[in-house]
């Protein structure tokens, strides 16, 4: 029946009988969850890369990378999450010590992780700033270095957790076989870091390209892209074996109505293009900037596409016995 009316939806009897898509976290206001998730990934990646790059020497671009990462988390991810809540003003209830739910709830944990990171990350950024630009006495600088190491490690750990928890939150769902696997968080982290590398390259370009650094970054992103391509392929393959509903989700991903997001935006733009470019540029003489920019943009689009596809095909198992 093409013509439908709004009354139809309360008809209860096909609920969870046919495999059913999760909607809360993707359609309507659910879009906000998707954006928040994407920004966690990007933020985590960028911050981590910046942090690691800064270990040997706090370069301008490394500092900016950590700043960007921090901003993505604090000014994008968290606000989007907040805006999604049905009761935003009560957000504090999800944060320890106001809740003890972190014992079991990945969401509560996530909140905790992000907040610790917000603090630690901020200090790290400030400390690095002084270490890089402030003229400090040797003794002061040594002391600050130690401090920056400490906060740096804390921030690093917690941003990693922040990036990882979304994956766990989703893989926790027993009746969503496509999500319900330990692989998911790993895919999310690795993809996040790869995205981070891309964005960091961007930062690098803006803050006065450092050729050597860029080619290092490209080297790593090349590896991660390959790893990721394999991971995703493996993920889908596993889905086919793991469960009929997971299979259905996988089918939906590659054949379904939003397959173009997967193929065009994720596979072609998000993975293939940057890969080709980074390989190409490795052997290219002269000015590769335009290509790099293309790669960075594509890569970032890929980041959005990945989470979108995965959220979109969250398909529940029927609740009835004998039905998958």
């Amino acid at each position: 029946m093409k013509a439908q009316t709004r009354r139809q939806w309360i008809t209860t009897h096909e609920w969870m009988v046919k495999p059913m898509r999760q909607k809360e976290w993707i359609s309507g206001k659910g879009i906000l969850v998707w954006l928040a998730e994407v920004f966690s990934a990007l933020g985590m990646g960028t911050y981590l890369v910046g942090l690691l790059a800064g270990i040997s020497e706090i370069t301008t671009w490394a500092w900016w990378a950590t700043v960007l990462g921090w901003v993505l988390i604090v000014l994008f991810k968290l606000p989007f999450h907040l805006a999604y809540l049905g009761r935003p003003l009560r957000f504090w209830r999800a944060i320890p010590p106001f809740t003890k739910a972190w014992r079991t709830s990945w969401l509560a944990r996530g909140m905790f992780f992000s907040i610790v990171f917000t603090g630690a990350g901020f200090l790290q950024i400030v400390f690095w700033y002084f270490l890089r630009w402030g003229d400090l006495s040797a003794s002061a600088s040594d002391a600050l270095t130690v401090l920056s190491w400490i906060v740096g490690i804390v921030a690093g750990v917690f941003i990693l957790l922040t990036g990882v928890y979304c994956g766990f939150a989703m893989s926790y769902c027993k009746s969503l076989p496509f999500w319900n696997t330990g692989l998911l968080p790993i895919v999310f982290v690795i993809m996040g870091v790869a995205d981070g590398l891309a964005l960091t390259m961007g930062v690098n370009l803006i803050t006065g390209a450092d050729e050597a650094a860029i080619s290092d970054l490209e080297f790593w992103s090349r590896i991660l892209l390959v790893v990721n391509a394999l991971l995703i392929a493996g993920y889908l393959a596993r889905a086919y074996q793991r469960h009929s509903a997971a299979e259905l989700a996988a089918q939906d991903l590659i054949k379904g109505s939003t397959a173009w997001v997967f193929w065009v935006l994720l596979v072609i733009l998000g993975i293939a293009t940057p890969l080709v470019i980074s390989v190409a540029t490795a052997f290219m003489e002269g000015d590769t900037e335009p290509l790099l920019i293309v790669a960075i943009v594509c890569h970032t689009i890929g980041a959005f596409a990945l989470k979108y596809s995965v959220l979109k095909v969250g398909i529940y198992r029927s609740v009835l016995p004998g039905v998958g």
Partner: protein, 262 residues
């Protein structure tokens, strides 16, 4: 003490009275139903398996929704009932996603267009906003009629035995297909039924330990001669059936995954 319900699929004739009773008891907004009747039909080469399942929150002993909740708004009572404290709920919908049985609904504005969209609200609705306020932006589900249970017990009544301490849906069922009682008491009617007819839970393999059990058997004894097509009788004759090809395609391949009823 752990409250539980046994749903007798042999007796349920999907009249939907339970749904109506629940809507009245809790002044539910138009587009929210806490209890649903869902129907299931597989037709594998002529072998028809169909039934109607009234489903409501299973009050799982090990409840994913509770574990998922970041605010402890969703929590489990001593008596096993899983309740939501709407004053604590921040509306993150993680529980909605995490409930493997999809028994939770997020109450958003669009789910409350009024019984007669575009017309003045009925007195029943207006009174409901006083007597049983629902908080927009929070999540809801069947609560085993805790209000009735608590009120009843405070007056020394026994849930499952005395109406005033028992769920509204259980009271109204003309087929007497719903039985309520204490799962911890081995002699309770619920446990007797579960033992006698080999009760089963939905998706027991999730390890959620639902407090809602199902039993299915043939009236008129097990020498029942009705052919398999007659299975359809217990179902949705008045409702829609399920796309058979989809079932063949999706589930035909994995019988191993489909656990059989005891």
């Amino acid at each position: 003490m752990r409250w539980g319900m046994v749903i007798n699929l042999a007796k349920c004739m999907r009249c939907h009275a339970c749904v109506a009773a629940c809507r009245i008891e809790h002044f539910l907004p138009l587009d929210i139903t806490w209890v649903k009747l869902i129907a299931h039909e597989v037709d594998e080469d002529g072998a028809v398996e169909v039934s109607t399942y009234p489903v409501r929150c299973n009050q799982c002993a090990d409840a994913p929704c509770v574990h998922a909740c970041p605010t402890e708004a969703s929590h489990q009572r001593e008596d096993g009932i899983v309740v939501i404290d709407s004053d604590k709920c921040i509306g993150c919908r993680y529980c909605v996603i995490a409930c493997p049985y999809q028994n939770r609904t997020f109450y958003s504005k669009d789910k409350d267009p009024g019984y007669f969209p575009g017309y003045e609200r009925t007195r029943f609705e207006k009174m409901g906003q006083k007597l049983y306020p629902h908080q927009r932006g929070t999540t809801e589900k069947c609560n085993f009629c805790v209000e009735r249970i608590d009120d009843g017990m405070s007056r020394g009544l026994t849930p499952g035995v005395d109406r005033d301490a028992s769920p509204a849906c259980v009271n109204t069922c003309q087929a007497r297909a719903l039985t309520f009682g204490d799962l911890d008491d081995p002699d309770s009617e619920v446990n007797r039924l579960i033992r006698r007819y080999g009760g089963f839970q939905l998706r027991a393999e999730y390890g959620t330990e639902p407090s809602v059990w199902y039993i299915d058997y043939r009236l008129g004894g097990n020498d029942n001669k009705a052919p398999r097509e007659a299975q359809t009788g217990s179902h949705i004759q008045h409702l829609s059936s399920v796309d058979r090809d989809a079932f063949r395609r999706i589930y035909g391949r994995e019988p191993a995954d489909a656990e059989a009823k005891p």
